[in-house]
């Protein structure tokens, strides 16, 4: 499936650009956090639990064959539908613990702790 491969590669490339962009804009230090990635695959968020620092950029990459969301309660964040091979990014600003689900597949759960 050349088309699907291409799209997947494109999604990864976009994720790469986003991550590279963050690294460039946040700090010139080589070991500065370049942002974090959560892979959505097999109806799971991986890693399921993630701790980040306030101001860090989190990118969800959907590697499943159908759309998912990353939706937290209390209006913290809601990606809406992330298409297959697409990415969505959220910058964690306010410290706290955010539990989130996929609004389409309620069995999918994740937690982000912003320090």
């Amino acid at each position: 499936m050349p088309e699907a491969r291409w799209t997947w590669a494109w999604g990864v490339a976009v994720a790469g650009l986003l991550l590279a962009g963050t690294a460039a804009s946040t700090s010139p230090a080589a070991d500065a956090p370049a942002g974090r990635t959560i892979v959505i695959e097999n109806l799971q968020f991986n890693p399921q639990v993630l701790a980040v620092k306030a101001g860090e950029r989190i990118t969800w990459v959907n590697k499943d064959l159908f759309p998912h969301t990353a939706t937290a309660g209390a209006k913290a964040f809601d990606s809406k539908a992330i298409a297959p091979n697409a990415v969505w990014t959220w910058v964690a600003q306010k410290p706290g613990t955010y539990t989130y689900v996929c609004a389409f597949h309620p069995t999918m759960k994740g937690t982000i702790t912003v320090q």
Binding site: M1, E3, A4, L65, F66, T107
Partner: protein, 177 residues
């Protein structure tokens, strides 16, 4: 009760078809036909439910089935084309199609919450049956590595859909009738 019996007999028919028809296991072209038919049958049921379901939760579930199974079929079709495999109809794909046709015919006679319950009961039975077929017949029989990988990749969706359908089933039964 009648609905439950109907759903269960569907599972038994499918399980029997999956196990008996392939003493030596289905070939890759046969597996391709089974995968495409299994998804299409559930897309068709979802479309009917989207127009006829009473509860909002059931409608949302129906839309999810259409979206997810369409996504799976898109990938399956792309893979089949890439591998130059022509899906080959077989007793299991025929049984799935007949099960889907019978289900639609039965659902079309129902309305309101009776429709919702019958649709969801069938979704539970259908996902359980397909999951069993994926585990016991399709994954072990698939020869091509990419076809096997696709089956392994879609398996969690059937698990999640089954759990979702079971939750709906218990919600609907609590509402009573």
């Amino acid at each position: 009760m009648k609905m439950k019996f109907t759903a269960w007999s569907g599972v038994l028919v499918l399980a029997a078809a999956a196990n008996v028809a392939f003493a030596a296991g289905p070939t890759d072209p046969q597996i391709a036909a089974i995968v495409v038919t299994a998804n299409q049958v559930d897309i068709d049921a979802g479309k009917l439910a989207l127009s006829k379901a009473h509860s909002k939760d059931v409608k949302e579930f129906a839309q999810l089935m259409i979206t997810d199974h369409s996504g799976v079929n898109k990938s399956a079709t792309e893979l089949v084309q890439k591998l130059h495999v022509t899906p080959e109809a077989n007793p299991t794909s025929a049984s799935l199609q007949k099960g889907g046709d019978d289900n639609e015919a039965a659902l079309k006679k129902l309305k309101g919450s009776a429709f919702d319950r019958a649709y969801v009961d069938h979704e539970v039975a259908y996902h359980q049956a397909v999951l069993d077929a994926v585990d016991t017949t399709l994954i072990p029989s698939a020869q091509n590595a990419e076809l096997k990988a696709l089956l392994i990749k879609v398996r969690p969706a059937f698990v999640a859909h089954l759990e979702h359908a079971k939750n709906l089933q218990s919600q609907l039964s609590k509402k009573g009738a």
